[in-house]
Symmetry: C2
Subunit: 496 residues, 2 copies
């Protein structure tokens, strides 16, 4: 059956939005990688103008009418899925009054800007003054979204990043992890205390690291005709699906973080490069959620990248591009990349400690948004949970404690769970792959990575947002999210 | 007196346009320097969407009303100048029917695309098939603009690049050049036949050339906090005044073209970087014309760059960044950079032969637009004029003859005069500077370039489009364009 006029008009509107988003993405990438400092003010003004335009396009009353009309007339399943995602994007732009959005942007910018110095100065009291306003406005946002969507305030915020996910589920999933994780960390540390490992020696010139990174990206199937690798202060995956821009940062005294960062961002990039070309202009053609996106980067970084089979595959490349030394032997690389050491900082955390950082933040931000605690209660809770989950003492150390992340400074509450959900999905995918391919690690070690890419391409990348997350995962894995695979993966890798 | 409401509203509209133009400029720069091939289709669509938006903004009937209202109410001279330039931009967008603009875009894109192969294949007949349509549409455009502006058709097209310039003036100016130029070229060639010069030896690694280029840009006052140097197939100066992006291309067997190209683009860049910051969002705050823009790049390339005093200043830098060799002695560099040799190709032409290439094109394109000749008459005219002006035989050689330039393929008739006008303005500026600074060359050789930059900043850059071109030049030089300075400059440099 042919498209209704309402749906056809929606396609035209979302195509325009897609093109504006293209310009915003490229200008944003340029800002982070290329732009000299004096370009900043004009760039910010241009980007803000584009945001106003996109918001006006999405809040045009005619679009709302067409959406309602098309929903009544939708014929095919594909069209219904497309409309569901359009509706979602419409809601994000329309459920909040413009004054609140503007107040949040201002308060967030002010808090984030001041935070950069306050963090360096360990100044929690100063931070609190701006942060209270951010919390107040985020609670208003959560309340408004919650009453429109019929869910709890925190779920309403999480819904921006993980559509359909409920904190009741997260509570159950993270509650279980909290039971087994601390014990596992202790056992692994005891085991690793007896291991002998060699540390890489030498300084590693940036250009050689870059060449190594490009070689590994090639191995991982990155399409260089549809993307680039550049440098930025904070690594990210940006650009557009047709032209994916990933970045890293280099330290001449340590290549390991940069290399694994490139592998991580390449996972994000292949998701974008693998989205169905004929749907890119529509919301249904975009990545499913932040958790699913993270499941791709973590499939690459954790399931592949830190896998001893993969490390044995790239060991010769490391020797070729950097230098040949005993520390780059496959067994030693595996030891280096699986070292467990509880610490203060989430972004520096190893695979095993990372979930503890996320659970801590989730519990605090949920209580904060639901009004169970106030902003000034955060440091005490932070200390208590760091002690309990990781045995780390952060008292008085706000800089390496509750001031370390950027997320809360601009009100991005509800995002943190995505990191650990991504790690869990990734573990589940690989468990499913291993079920049908018992020789998966041998294949990986032999460089036959296409079996992994084909599985991800078929089950995740090409599906975009056609299905809600649970259905996407069920179709891929035969069951929805099952965190047992994550635990099994960690025990196998770190105690096996 | 305070602004009228109409003028205030115009400011808001042109500020929006300025921000959209920012995004278009950065996306365009990225396309030429960074974008991988598969990004092209999405980028073209995004850019076209932005063009539609900008055109719609400029053709909004409310803007036309405000413009008329504000013109009646304008109080200050500054406001009247601002409105004059707004009116000019409005006319460019509003005088032509959308169907013609679209037909021209299509015909131009088709002709230019096919030309890339046709040029390589020396295929004039094939080119002619697409080109006839381009000419037909450009004649329509010229006719429409001419009747609205009360001028000749060719003047109407030239007005897009050189507001206010008349072909009657160009005829007179170029007519005089045609009289003395061929004889001057002959005499210079006879003189140079007896010169002994050393050719640079060696291969020059790209990174060393880049460092040399950056050092010379620094010497020329380029603000690296407000711009960058990158690589593209066709060198250009792009970006925005707050963030100027210049490019070059490198050949390892020849650093001379790249270095002089960088000096040329740095001239364009300093004009943009020197435009008044408080007017950047308005048409009156932009560069005056293409000829005046070219006068800045040629002030840098011809008046400074190929000046023996300047070459003696950068000789040590060339030795430092490339290698020390006899060919890099100041006197030999001056010989190398003033070598005269008539040839087929405009962009490879030396300072002396360049005007002949431009005059030839001007005469042919004017006759074509005015309907005195048809497209098929071009090759014979080209041959005749190349023989007459430069003594070069191009018969049957379309590739290096009338198919060499991109300008006509997409209908950019009226642009060519700007190149030689720019060279003439630049010669005039430096004659004026020398009048008050008899030791200018000693100062240049000593590295005291600020006297040149101060003059240009004060007289050209900071004036933007406040005055019509003639008035700008009169205020700067005490008289409007006087081509005698150009002839005197060439005779002094090449026969002196």
């Amino acid at each position: 059956m042919s498209q209704s006029p309402a749906y056809a008009s929606l396609l035209a509107r979302f195509t325009r939005l897609h093109r504006f988003a293209h310009l915003a993405a490229i200008a944003g990438w340029d800002q982070a990688t290329m732009m000299p400092p004096k370009g900043n003010e004009a760039r910010a003004a241009a980007q803000a103008e584009l945001e106003v335009l996109m918001h006006a396009t999405l809040t045009d009353p005619a679009l709302a009418q067409e959406l309602q009309q098309a929903e009544q007339e939708a014929h095919s399943e594909a069209e219904r899925a497309s409309l569901r995602e359009m509706r979602r994007e419409w809601q994000q732009a329309n459920l909040l009054p413009a004054e609140l959005v503007e107040a949040q942007a201002l308060a967030g910018a002010r808090c984030e800007h001041a935070w950069r110095e306050q963090r360096a100065n360990n100044d929690w009291t100063g931070f609190l003054q701006n942060f209270r306003e951010v919390v107040k406005l985020s609670r208003q946002e959560a309340q408004l979204l919650a009453s429109a969507q019929g869910c709890t305030p925190y779920d309403a915020l999480m819904n921006k990043y993980e559509p359909g996910m409920k904190s009741a589920d997260i509570d159950r999933i993270f509650g279980t992890v909290k039971v087994w994780l601390p014990g596992l960390i202790s056992r692994v540390m005891a085991k690793q205390a007896e291991e002998k490992l060699l540390l890489p020696q030498g300084s590693f010139p940036v250009e050689q690291q870059r060449q190594l990174g490009l070689a590994v990206m090639g191995l991982l199937g990155f399409d260089f005709d549809a993307g680039r690798l550049d440098v930025s202060v904070h690594p990210f995956c940006g650009g557009v699906p047709e032209d994916v821009r990933i970045t890293t940062r280099y330290r001449e005294d340590d290549f390991m973080q940069s290399l694994m960062g490139i592998i991580h961002e390449t996972g994000h990039a292949r998701y974008e490069q693998g989205l169905p070309r004929d749907l890119l202009h529509l919301p249904v053609g975009r990545a499913r959620s932040m958790g699913i996106h993270e499941s791709q980067s973590l499939s690459f970084e954790m399931q592949l990248g830190r896998n001893p089979a993969f490390l044995s595959l790239i060991s010769p490349l490391i020797c070729q591009y950097l230098c040949d030394q005993p520390a780059f032997a496959p067994e030693n690389l595996a030891l280096l990349y699986s070292r467990v050491h509880p610490g203060y900082i989430r972004v520096d955390a190893d695979e095993l400690c990372y979930p503890a950082h996320v659970i801590l933040r989730y519990e605090i931000e949920k209580a904060l948004i639901e009004g169970e605690i106030e902003a000034e209660d955060i440091p005490a809770l932070w200390d208590e949970k760091m002690q309990s989950y990781l045995g780390v003492d952060t008292r008085g150390n706000y800089r390496q404690g509750c001031l370390q992340d950027i997320h809360w400074t601009d009100g991005s509450f509800g995002y943190f769970p995505s990191y650990t959900l991504g790690a869990m999905y990734a573990a589940q995918y690989f468990a499913v792959m291993r079920r049908s391919m018992t020789d998966l690690d041998q294949r990986i070690a032999a460089g036959d990575l296409s079996v992994v890419f084909d599985w991800l391409e078929q089950n995740i990348w090409s599906q975009a947002s056609r299905y809600p997350t649970d259905e996407l995962v069920s179709r891929a894995c035969g069951e929805a999210l099952n965190p047992d695979y994550f635990r099994a993966h960690l025990e196998a890798r770190y105690l096996g």
